[in-house]
């Protein structure tokens, strides 16, 4: 008897849960994304018809450029957002707190996605977005595929010789990535060692780079500065990376926009660079 009661309660919960779930996602017909990678993920999930606005930085995929623009990633136009009558605004950790507060006061639902700290968080955020958009099944499928491939790569690179890597994402001051960034996973999954892994913040000294002597230096594009930086590193003839001519410039957009799919693409590219 007890078992039946538990079972019926369970089924009720499931039923009710499902009901609530479909209800909430069918309510969400108008969504505004305040982050480029969130826009990209909405397109990946095929929910672009619900996207009524995004930032001017949302350039990928190219169709996103035609969507209504509500400001930049950091400075949003609240008036514009309000007149688009969104059911939900998806903010990022770059959105100003005062703006989020203001939107909430105006009766707009806001969800904040903090920038993911590792591959696992990229996936779980993607799944959450899938849930919100009523596309959980598709999100799960994409994540599973990507995870399988990522594991495959991890397995392959596991027994290869480790490569010491320095990733430069900013210059003046020299800025790199620590273990708090998903970029660190790129290096570790592809069989590298991030020399700045345990640094407290991203600010790093050239001296420390010389001491750690990385085998590979990767510069995220910062316009002309990237080429300049390449020349500057070239002057340190004792660096392994310079000796073997292994300084690479990579597209910052690819490197820093964390959707599961772009993560996999970039990872594959990185494996080629590190183990050629």
């Amino acid at each position: 008897m007890k078992r039946y009661i538990i079972l019926s309660i369970l089924s009720l919960i499931i039923l009710f849960g499902n009901f609530k779930f479909t209800l909430s996602s069918s309510f969400l017909q108008r969504i505004i994304s305040l982050g480029p990678y969130i826009t990209e993920e909405i397109y990946l999930l095929g929910a672009q018809d619900k996207l009524v606005g995004c930032t001017i930085y949302c350039q990928r995929p190219s169709e996103a450029q035609k969507k209504e623009k509500v400001g930049t990633v950091i400075q949003i136009n609240i008036e514009k957002i309000l007149t688009l009558k969104p059911d939900l605004v998806i903010a990022t950790s770059l959105t100003q707190k005062k703006d989020i507060e203001k939107l909430k006061n105006l009766g707009i639902r806001v969800i904040k996605f903090s920038s993911p700290k590792n591959f696992f968080e990229i996936c779980s955020q993607f799944l959450e977005l899938g849930k919100i958009l009523g596309k959980y099944g598709l999100a799960k499928k994409i994540v599973q595929e990507v995870k399988d491939k990522v594991l495959e790569i991890k397995r392959k690179t596991k027994n290869l010789a480790k490569v010491k890597v320095f990733v430069e994402v900013g210059t003046n001051p020299l800025f790199t990535i620590t273990k708090d960034s998903f970029l660190n996973d790129f290096i570790e999954f592809s069989g590298g060692i991030n020399i700045a892994k345990d640094a407290k913040t991203g600010i790093y000294s050239r001296e420390a780079v010389l001491k750690e002597n990385p085998d590979v230096i990767i510069i995220a594009t910062m316009g002309i500065i990237a080429d300049k930086e390449k020349i500057i590193w070239g002057k340190y003839k004792n660096l392994e990376a310079v000796k073997n001519n292994r300084i690479y410039i990579m597209d910052a957009y690819k490197l820093c926009s964390p959707t599961p799919v772009s993560f996999l693409e970039t990872l594959e590219e990185l494996v080629k660079i590190l183990h050629k």
């Binding site: 001017i56 623009k69 509500v70 400001g71 930049t72 950091i74 400075q75 949003i76 136009n77 609240i78 008036e79 514009k80 309000l82 007149t83 009558k85 950790s93 770059l94 100003q96 707190k97 005062k98 703006d99 507060e101 203001k102 909430k104 006061n105 105006l106 903090s114 920038s115 001051p173 708090d180 407290k200 913040t201 991203g202 600010i203």
Partner: protein, 335 residues
């Protein structure tokens, strides 16, 4: 004497008109087009509609905050310039803004705002400002006399120290916190909390009323401390109260709107040029025109490259600075 008063009344009238026109203009422009005819019906019947919300929940609070902050900063500028008899002094010279910024930075990196709510930001900013005021005040009083020149020098130094400390905090803080600090320092008239807006409006108006208790004293001080003393002014008390008044006005403004440069420096100059040196008219006219100037700049900042918004400090600096240089080079005004 009578003609002077009439002239002043005309000036105040003109400035109030100017302020009203700018406020109405600001209420009507923005990314959403709301036709003029519709507004009157909106005011009475439109409650709950999007347009009503745009006008009264988004545009109006910014106008009110612009009024309060612009007025308070200009008023503080006039008082300080009068007190120091130095036209280069502005509300931020004395390091009060630096103290406020430091308070906010500490709040952000200690993550107090996450635990105590967003209201803790202005509170910490204000505590930082008060701390700097207290340090300045106690260091500059020697043998019962407030040394004005030392106060100024010490203020400039405190401002350097706090900006270096801010840089120190920024260089060791996490990327996410860094953005919060940078935004705050850029300054903005966006404020979600209505009660804060009401509070700053009343503080700023109270400041104006209070400053009028000292209009004669300020006029006397412009001749020099000794001369003011001979004219029967209690110089010591006046100096202290004026310093505290200006500092508090600055502290409140900075802790709510961040650092919006230029208003407190340039507006008093303009007004001195237009209405004369007499503080009886200078105080009110600076307050009104500062308020109007900041509202205008904020309107430009949020409409000039729609749908993007610029930080208001960008506009106050570029617009105010270039007009200012133009006027100086044209008219050879006395600084």
């Amino acid at each position: 004497m009578r003609s002077k008063i009439i002239r002043w009344i005309i000036w105040v009238g003109i400035l109030v008109g100017f302020l009203l026109i700018i406020s109405i203009f600001s209420l009507f422009v923005g990314s959403t087009y709301i036709p003029f005819k519709k507004i009157i019906s909106l005011i009475f019947t439109g409650k709950g509609s999007i347009e009503y919300s745009v006008l009264f929940d988004i545009r109006l609070p910014r106008i009110l905050l612009g009024f309060a902050i612009g007025g308070a900063l200009s008023l503080a500028g006039v008082i300080l310039q009068g007190l120091f008899r130095n036209s280069l002094v502005e509300p931020y010279t004395l390091g009060i803004s630096g103290g406020a910024a430091l308070g906010v930075c500490l709040n952000i990196i200690l993550q107090l705002d996450r635990n105590l709510g967003i209201l803790s930001l202005p509170v910490c900013g204000f505590l930082g400002a008060v701390l700097i005021i207290l340090i300045l005040y106690s260091l500059s009083i020697k043998k019962g006399i407030l040394k004005i020149q030392e106060l100024l020098l010490m203020g400039v130094m405190l401002s350097f120290i706090s900006s270096s400390l801010i840089m120190l905090i920024m260089s060791i803080s996490r990327t996410e916190d860094l953005h919060g600090i940078v935004f705050w320092i850029m300054g903005s008239l966006e404020e979600p909390n209505w009660s804060l807006i009401k509070a700053i409006v009343s503080i700023s108006l109270l400041g104006l009323v209070f400053s009028y208790l000292f209009c004669h004293a300020l006029n006397a001080l412009s001749l020099g401390e000794e001369e003011a003393l001979h004219l029967g002014i209690n110089v010591e008390i006046t100096k202290r109260l004026l310093f505290i008044l200006a500092s508090l006005l600055t502290g409140f403004s900075v802790s709510i709107a961040g650092i919006i440069g230029f208003v407190g420096l340039a507006v008093p100059h303009f007004m001195r040029n237009l209405v004369g040196q007499d503080h009886r008219i200078l105080l009110i006219s600076s307050f009104l025109s500062g308020a109007g100037f900041l509202i205008l700049c904020d309107t430009l900042a949020r409409t000039i490259i729609l749908p993007l918004e610029l930080p208001v400090g960008v506009i106050t600096g570029i617009l105010g600075g270039s007009i200012f240089i133009y006027i100086i080079s044209k008219k050879q005004i006395k600084l």
